[in-house]
């Protein structure tokens, strides 16, 4: 279902989701010809990140992971600067020193992005600690996958956050569902003895809710409650947003196994290829959101196509900008070791 928000805000969220989708698809194509190292895409999780991060304001911080592209675009970071960073160019948002795993934009509330699983969890708690101590009306968000819950850092972080009643939201994007991860040559999914991820939260007295991460209304409501709790001294929250791992994320390197997204699938299922029928019809949160917007009359098919075309054009231009950008001078390797 749709969040209880004005239509123009919902359409803006659709635009952001399509920009993320087209960014990642463009990146997968780009990676075929350029070595950008191991990378991770956010396809299939847009319906979680976009409505969730839309609830943050200036000064709020978020700590993301190796799967960060969607989160940054959702908070307004320039895709051109991101592609440039992913190619290691001087115009990259980290000046070519971070790459896909570490895309950060302090001005947009991403102070640092760690590719160490679980590593940023206590750091996110630390920002919340500082906000409390400095009397700032700000919240910190830790964005992570189900795998981070296997790390000891998780236990230490939720314990400190709970004791401090820190203004932090642990937003776990569980993308392991239906992953055929244990099959040969595919990336393993999470391995936990706990039956439910929220079982790992309950002993700390932190409110924890599992939600359907492809249901934008569920995401919006859970996140709005968590942000409200943080801002009013109620302490931390835990949200498990369940998404389905996009088939293209099952191989070690992302692949366009499903083909590129076709927005017309939202109203014309006849074009959906049989092989990925379930993905496009039931599991993709972006198409689900688009169908709901069409049904509610917030957007027309023509408008959806126009928004999508703009997103494609923007990402094509971003790739061109990045490819045409210069590399940093090699000597810049010796800068920024210390502030």
């Amino acid at each position: 279902m749709l969040p209880d928000l004005p239509g123009e805000e919902l359409v803006a969220q659709l635009r952001t989701m399509l920009r993320i989708r087209r960014f990642e698809e463009a990146l997968i194509r780009l990676a075929a010809d350029h070595d950008i190292g191991h990378f991770h895409v956010y396809v299939g999780q847009e319906a979680t990140g976009v409505p969730a991060l839309a609830l943050l304001g200036d000064g709020d911080v978020a700590y993301t992971t190796h799967r960060n592209h969607g989160h940054l675009i959702a908070r307004g970071v320039s895709p051109a600067g991101m592609v440039a960073e992913i190619l290691g160019k001087a115009t990259g948002i980290n000046r070519g020193k971070g790459g896909t795993l570490h895309l950060a934009s302090a001005a947009h509330g991403f102070p640092t992005t760690s590719s160490s699983v679980g590593g940023p969890l206590p750091i996110a708690v630390g920002s919340a600690f500082a906000f409390q101590e400095l009397g700032l009306d700000r919240v910190s968000v830790a964005l992570f996958g189900d795998g981070a819950l296997e790390e000891g850092a998780w236990h230490e972080s939720i314990n400190i956050a709970a004791m401090r009643k820190a203004p932090i939201i642990f937003l776990c994007e569980n993308n392991s569902l239906e992953a055929l991860g244990q099959k040969a040559n595919e990336y393993p999914s999470s391995t936990l003895a706990a039956v439910r991820l929220t079982d790992l939260v309950d002993p700390f007295g932190v409110p924890a809710v599992p939600i359907d991460g492809t249901d934008t209304r569920a995401v919006h409501e859970a996140m709005a409650e968590a942000v409200q709790r943080a801002r009013t001294g109620g302490g931390p929250s835990f949200i498990e947003a369940r998404t389905v791992r996009w088939p293209g994320n099952r191989p070690l390197w992302p692949q366009l196994l499903t083909g590129e997204t076709d927005v017309t699938f939202a109203w014309d299922p006849s074009g959906i290829p049989a092989e990925h029928e379930r993905w496009w019809s039931q599991q993709d949160g972006l198409l689900r959101f688009l169908r709901e917007l069409l049904d509610a009359g917030h957007v027309t098919r023509e408008q959806a196509i126009a928004i999508d075309t703009e997103a494609r054009d923007e990402m094509a231009a971003a790739v061109t900008f990045a490819l045409e950008s210069p590399y940093p001078e090699a000597e810049e390797a010796f800068e920024h070791v210390f502030a």
Binding site: V61, Y63, G92, I93, N94, R95, G96, K97, G98, H102, A104, S105, A106, A107, P111, T112, S114, S116, G119, P120, L121, P122, I123, A124, V125, G126, S127, A128, F129, A130, F131, E133, L134, L136, R138, S140, G152, A153, H155, E156, S157, N159, I160, M163, E335, H336, V337, F338, A339
Partner: protein
């Protein structure tokens, strides 16, 4: 700078602790006070807290389990809202310190015994040290991480580490290894005002040493070595407690008519190579005494720099006195055999001048 070393009195009941002020002799001269190393630490911490409302203490074992730990009671009374007692969760509270530093505080995080730094090593080495660099200079991590390092006596393999060399192998972390009350107080003030992560290693066996400390506030810059004793025949470079061992050795050697110069780098990062090269240029001989394990230790790096830049000045091979490449044993005779000492420095110097 001299004082008899007393035992660290590990595990003593706090009620047994003598009043720290008894340790202090009358002021040596106007404008100066006689303070123990531990009192210098406490003074630096109090001054840092008073000068900047964003400074926080995370943890409270700055003085280990020594009687000096009563000094933290005083700090807590003066700054009741500025000290946080974290759970036994080094990953959690060091990471909390990093995030707090990113978001506007200047935390001084106490990890207590240096061997415990390996629990949050990923936070220190893979997060704090990298953040400014890999964000292309966007984000700063102004925090101090404190430990009590070294062979304190009976600490055995898991409470005796000196991880400075491992961290010197980690670009992005500054390292201070003070050896006197004046240095620890002045370096700490600089560390807290630095916009980078600073690793602050004290040796528990330094706490009782008494020195003159200026009454006025003082900030000692990083990267400036101090010649603790001038000499002409041999340069002895020491760090932390080993500065004291070097000075003891110099005293013994003086009785033999050997004039040893003792140089204390005071910080490893940044490192004042120049002062050491100049000293070796005058003496032609170099002995380095440091408590890290020998292989790839602090002494190894200093020896390499001098060999690279002042080879022609050397009139004898460089000698390193370090902790032997074994885990630290518990029993005292074994511990004594593997740790660096003034006697080992004296033997090394005599072998060079033989």
């Amino acid at each position: 700078m001299s004082s008899p070393e007393t035992s660290a009195a590990l595990g003593a009941d706090p009620s047994d602790a003598s009043d720290p002020s008894v340790m202090s002799d009358p002021p040596a001269r106007a404008g100066w006070s006689r303070l123990s190393y531990a009192e210098g630490m406490a003074l630096g911490l109090r001054e840092a807290l008073a000068s900047d409302p964003t400074v926080r203490l995370m943890g409270q074992y700055f003085f280990g389990l020594t009687p000096w730990r009563r000094l933290t009671v005083d700090i807590r009374e003066r700054f009741p809202d500025r000290v946080w007692d974290p759970p036994i969760a080094e990953i959690g509270y060091v990471g909390t310190g990093i995030g707090a530093a990113i978001s506007g505080l200047r935390p001084i995080v106490d990890v207590a015994t240096a061997s415990f730094i390996f629990q949050p090593f990923s936070q220190v080495v893979n997060e704090a040290a990298n953040i400014h660099y890999m964000t292309g200079g966007q984000t700063r991590v102004p925090m101090v991480i404190h430990v009590n390092h070294g062979i304190r006596g009976g600490g055995a393999a898991q409470h005796s580490h000196s991880p400075q060399a491992m961290l010197w192998n980690t670009p992005g972390i500054k390292i201070m290894t003070p050896s006197s009350a004046r240095d620890v107080r002045g370096l700490l003030r600089t560390a807290v005002e630095d916009d980078n992560p600073v690793f602050w290693a004290d040796h528990a066996k330094l706490f009782d040493y008494v020195d003159d400390v200026p009454d006025a506030e003082e900030r000692i810059p990083f990267g400036v070595a101090e010649i603790k004793r001038a000499g002409t025949d041999v340069t002895i470079v020491g760090t932390s407690l080993m500065v004291r061992r070097a000075l003891e050795a110099a005293e013994i050697l003086a009785a033999d008519g050997i004039s040893a110069e003792v140089v204390d780098p005071r910080t490893l990062v940044p490192f004042d190579t120049e002062t050491i090269l100049e000293s070796v240029g005058r003496t032609g001989r170099l002995v380095i005494v440091d408590e890290c394990h020998q292989s790839c230790g602090v002494g190894a790096e200093i020896a390499a720099r001098v060999a690279e830049h002042a080879f022609d000045a050397l009139r004898a091979p460089i000698r390193r006195i370090a902790t032997a490449d074994v885990p630290i044993p518990f029993g005292r005779p074994m511990e004594e055999l593997v740790e660096p000492s003034a006697a080992k420095v004296v033997t090394a110097v005599r072998s060079l001048l033989g």
